[in-house]
Amino acid sequence: MNSTNDTTSGETGGFGRPAPWIAVASGKGGTGKTSVAVSLARAALRAGRRVQLVDADVEGPNAHHFLGLGEPETFPVEAMLPRIDPARCTLCGECASFCNYQALAVLGDRVMVFPDMCHGCEGCRVLCPVQAIENGSQEIGRIMHWRGDGFEAWQGRLHVGQVLSPTLIRELHRRARESAPGYDLTIVDSPPGTSCPMMAAVRGANRLVLVTEPTPFGLHDLELAMAAVRRMKLPVEVIVNRSIGDDAAIDDLCRARAVPVIARFPEDRAVAAAYAEGRPMIEGGAEWAKQYDDLRRHLEVQC
């Protein structure tokens, strides 16, 4: 790969700009990410767009509750787990000393593997001097896939007790990215927080919407979320949910970080009750539908 100066970093592909891939995330949980993501997908569908929705909250996937979909196709997702061949293993300990996750240990006359610790890097297999390690696997979760007319939904579901959320999210994104060129818009519903699962879910997006609420909790976690994604150099925008008319602290933070607030949704118990029935915000009435159509228009303009 002795390339000359015509090399690009690849992000523009061969056909000009990439299709919009919008991540919806938040530092704090329960601010309304899923309801926003689903409502936005609905608004785009109503406007005749082809939409792909990716539920990347693999530790608590919930978008399907609001979609009324049928049976999905499902795919198991496996992570690599070392399998030791005792006939070849010389107990040299190279694998255990390499492993930064303490997933391997030489104990007596065998090498123990601790599946809960393994990140699946395959370094032990690559480095074993006597090729005594091969790739075994463990199923860490599943991917569900629904296909409709001009609509596709993906969901990652981590098995209870498993910890490799980022691995599952990467696989989910890999599949969704393959089908993305057929869609006008991809929307990712991210897990809450500001650590590795959220980062993995936001990765690859070309636009990020952070949903917050005007409480000290919402403000604090919004600030953390902004800090978490700063290296990604993504355009970031904020939606304030459950506004009670005084969002000054959020507005001050957004102004200081030069992050635009693109929508404000009011605190509304009727909308909360509708959510309890599996109806997202966009079904809150004509005013909500209009706000979501405005938001959809805004997000369709390339930033």
Binding site: T7, S9, V163, S165, T194, A276
Partner: protein, 299 residues
Amino acid sequence: MLTEWVIISGKGGTGKTSVTAALAAWCGTSVLTDTDVDGANLELVLQARQATEQRFEGRRKAVIKPSLCRACGKCADECRFDAVHPAAMRPDRGVIMTIDADACEGCGLCKRICPADAIVMKKTVGGTWRESDTPWGRLFHARLEPGGENSGKLVALLRKKAREYAEAHGIPLLLTDGPPGSGCPVIATLTGAHKVLIVTEPTPSGRSDAERVLDLCRHFRRPVWLAVNKYDLHTGMAQQIEEWARARDLPIVGRLPYDPAVPTAIRRGVPVPSLPPSPWSQALARMAMETGLSSKNSK
């Protein structure tokens, strides 16, 4: 004997932190831990005054020295975390490889196989952990570096420190405000805890995430109770949760109403029982009795 109660929910925003703070206020003196280290909020409603702060080292991550990289691409081929990509460099050098620190999980394989010895493993900031004083007891909390890896190590450290403090001071109750989800930090929070309280809400998301964390608790054989917050938000859904809990042999110890006192308390930075009596604080008090949490000061 120290009893550690862990409060988790699966779904975020069901009211874990408000419940934990209110229980702390109701019980009088306890030791508190906030293991939601990438969005720690308990300090915001307990009038916490920081007493100590210490650094927590993160996992080492791979960094490529541009001057040594020959762009052979071996690191990119072997990286299972998709963290290595070509990056345009000065025109005379063409392309070299670069590592995305946000994607690198620090396995160190690239460093070991690099034929040019161009990769080093660099320390990263993991975050900080703190001890703070509150009117209701000492609080152990942390701030994970935003975007950092939530490996469970910081959670384990906090819980260990909190236990040591409780034992050293003869405080019998430890209340731990857990993280959302069901992954590493939740598992690290449940390990060795004595009792678990799941806080859910009567919504499809609340229920399905409660089910996931219930399975997790049962997997680790932790005794577990359920509280339904915003109980009157939707009667039908609340009824479904009642039936589900009965079928799963999960005792419901609290039915807390949808009450503006909760967001008001958050905005004022106090636990709900510090405000004038409200339906929510009364229901919370009944729950504290029912769980035996406040047997000593049941007034």
